[in-house]
């Protein structure tokens, strides 16, 4: 039972990192990053491949963060001076292109069958302890990222991001370089997603392209929106609800619903879709809203 809780907790904390990343981009800045999974995947593959190639894990993870952040920069430069819709669709496309590169460039990524044998974090420790240590390290990372983001939000930089989110024209009129601020938010958030990917790789020890589909992106989106965009604590709550839902729906069949695996998966996403629409219609600020002017704020 402890092992199960630690396993769920580890995946949950990785999702918390992703949600914090999206909360910086969407909650604070209003960027519609529908390609979050690309940076998660880049982080996982960079860290995994470097570690397989003999790099020490901490160094590989650092490189993963930098690579994910660097990949976001050109995307931001390309789309962030245009209407929000452009980033939204182009980011989805980017994440699909990244996944097809994972699949096709087998000389680098081992192709569709995935990359096995990624060194585990604390691989030398005995079995039970190893998972515990990894969980504690991840928890520490989440706390550090959380604290840094809270500081960032209260800094002049964070205030500018929210200013841009709430009224871009006004922020530009006050002399803020809107595109530059947006790009920095995208890059920073993507670095955090890269960190999540690195932990994911060194936890699972096996990564493959099919783990990085847009489904991951939209799971994180629903967590952020339900929790209340803009407020980090709300987003953690949202992630908690999401994990409960994803895990809990596995047991739906025990309730006597005779659904096959594909139907169960489909039902899950129907619920996610309905929840997104209802949330936008009736509770755009989420369960734990960030305070302020209420309904018209960007969720």
């Amino acid at each position: 039972m402890t092992a199960y809780i630690i396993a769920i907790g580890t995946i949950g904390l990785i999702y918390v990192l992703l949600a914090l990343s999206l909360n910086l981009q969407w909650g604070q800045t209003g960027l519609i990053n529908f390609g979050l999974v690309a940076f998660f995947g880049i982080g996982a593959y960079v860290s995994g491949l470097l570690a397989v190639g003999g790099w020490p894990i901490p160094l590989a993870m650092l490189a993963a963060v930098l690579a994910a952040a660097a990949a976001a920069w050109p995307l931001g430069r390309l789309t962030l001076s245009l209407k929000e819709d452009y980033l939204a669709v182009i980011a989805v496309g980017f994440s699909e292109v990244v996944r097809s590169v994972f699949e096709n460039e087998a000389w680098l990524t081992r192709g569709p069958s995935g990359l096995p044998g990624v060194p585990r974090l604390y691989g030398n420790a005995p079995d039970g302890l190893r998972d515990m240590l990894l969980f504690m390290t991840l928890l520490l990372a989440v706390i550090v990222v959380f604290a840094l983001l809270e500081r960032l939000i209260r800094s002049p930089f964070g205030r500018t991001l929210r200013g841009i989110r709430d009224n871009e024209v006004a922020a530009a009129a006050l002399g803020k370089n809107v595109v530059s601020f947006k790009t920095r938010s995208l890059v920073l958030g993507s670095g955090i997603a890269g960190l999540a990917g690195a932990f994911y790789a060194h936890y699972l020890t096996f990564i493959s392209p099919e783990q990085f589909t847009p489904d991951v992106t939209f799971n994180v989106w629903i967590a952020v929106i339900i929790g209340g965009s803009g407020r980090n604590l709300g987003v953690v709550l949202g992630t908690f609800i999401l994990i409960l839902f994803l895990e809990g729906s596995r047991f739906l069949n025990d309730l006597g619903l005779a659904l096959d695996g594909s139907q169960l998966g489909a039902l899950r996403f129907i619920v996610v879709g309905v929840a997104l629409v209802l949330c936008m219609l009736y509770r755009p600020a989420g369960l734990l809203p960030a305070g302020g002017k209420g309904k018209n704020r960007p969720c």
Binding site: D85, Y86, V89, G93, S100, V272, V274, V277, M280
Partner: protein, 292 residues
């Protein structure tokens, strides 16, 4: 070095793909122009069209054209209901709210289809037909029919937009909704009809695409990036531009699939988007104001 014939063949295949893409992109484009957001769920309407037609074929034992008409009607109604029940209520919200909502709608459509029909590949079981030869290249009669349907629909669209009072009203609402309302146009009715027509065209595109390939719940979703590319390349709201851009993108993606890797179609289209945004973000026939 690929032979001249093989290049011509690739262009021909690309044009057929572009003809379908154009039908999907034009609705996305006109709705972006009028309702000011990219309706991500638009491409999933194409999926609904394919499955509705499949259902009509199977359970009503109709011939293909009759089943396809039913499929198109179903999509038009579904698309209109999405507008009426969801998007219209959010029309005063910012576009970011609408985009997120449309992702939710897209999920509901796609996974309802998955829930009912499963995720296995299905097909219309159309009879095989001998390819028509033009010199050294071969084109299937279906591809010719697809091209014919697409050109005919675009001709009608152009005539309606240019020469009828309805077309004038649509252009007026696109340019300035407030002014259009002040001038006495019923913008609500115009928007409703545009949503209905755009959804119907998405249905047509879905059915044609399904006839060309196979039917899966991701049929439309895979077209999101290509349709978006055709929209911005052509210029948001430009009907002729969308058609031309869709043709180019169809050809580019066919070249990528033939001479590079089939799975790198999307990468090639992504490349087109990058070039368009760097060189001419407003597209071939668009105005700068729309992109910003």
């Amino acid at each position: 070095m690929p032979s001249f014939t093989s290049i011509l063949q690739t262009v021909a295949d690309g044009i057929s793909g572009g003809a379908v893409l154009a039908l999907l992109a034009v609705g996305l484009s006109v709705i972006f122009r009028l309702s000011k957001f990219v309706n991500v769920a638009h491409v999933d309407l194409a999926t609904v069209g394919a499955y509705a037609t499949l259902l009509a074929l199977g359970s009503l034992a109709l011939n293909f054209s009759a089943a396809a008409l039913i499929g198109v009607a179903v999509v038009a109604i579904v698309g209109y209901l999405c507008y009426r029940l969801v998007y219209r209520r959010l029309r005063s919200e910012r576009s970011i709210t609408l985009i997120i909502t449309s992702i939710g709608v897209a999920f509901v459509l796609r996974y309802l289809v998955t829930f009912i029909w499963g995720s296995n590949q299905l097909s219309f079981d159309l009879p095989l037909m001998r390819a028509v030869r033009f010199g050294d290249i071969r084109i299937s009669p279906y591809d010719l029919a697809i091209l014919g349907v697409s050109i005919a629909i675009f001709a009608v669209l152009q005539v309606v937009m240019r020469f009828t009072s309805f077309g004038r009203s649509v252009r007026a609402v696109a340019d300035n909704p407030q002014l259009a309302r002040v001038a006495g146009l019923n913008t609500e009715a115009i928007l409703a009809r545009v949503w209905l027509a755009a959804s119907a065209l998405a249905g047509v595109a879905g059915i044609l695409l399904a006839a060309k390939t196979v039917i899966t719940p991701y049929l439309g979703w895979h077209m999101l990036l290509p349709a978006f590319a055709a929209m911005i390349f052509g210029g948001v709201g430009s009907i002729g531009g969308t058609f031309a851009a869709a043709m180019i993108i169809g050809i580019v993606s066919e070249f990528a699939a033939t001479y590079w890797l089939p799975t790198y179609r999307l990468a090639a289209i992504f490349g087109v988007i990058v070039v368009v945004l760097l060189v001419r973000p407003q597209g071939l026939f668009g105005t700068k104001a729309v992109a910003k």
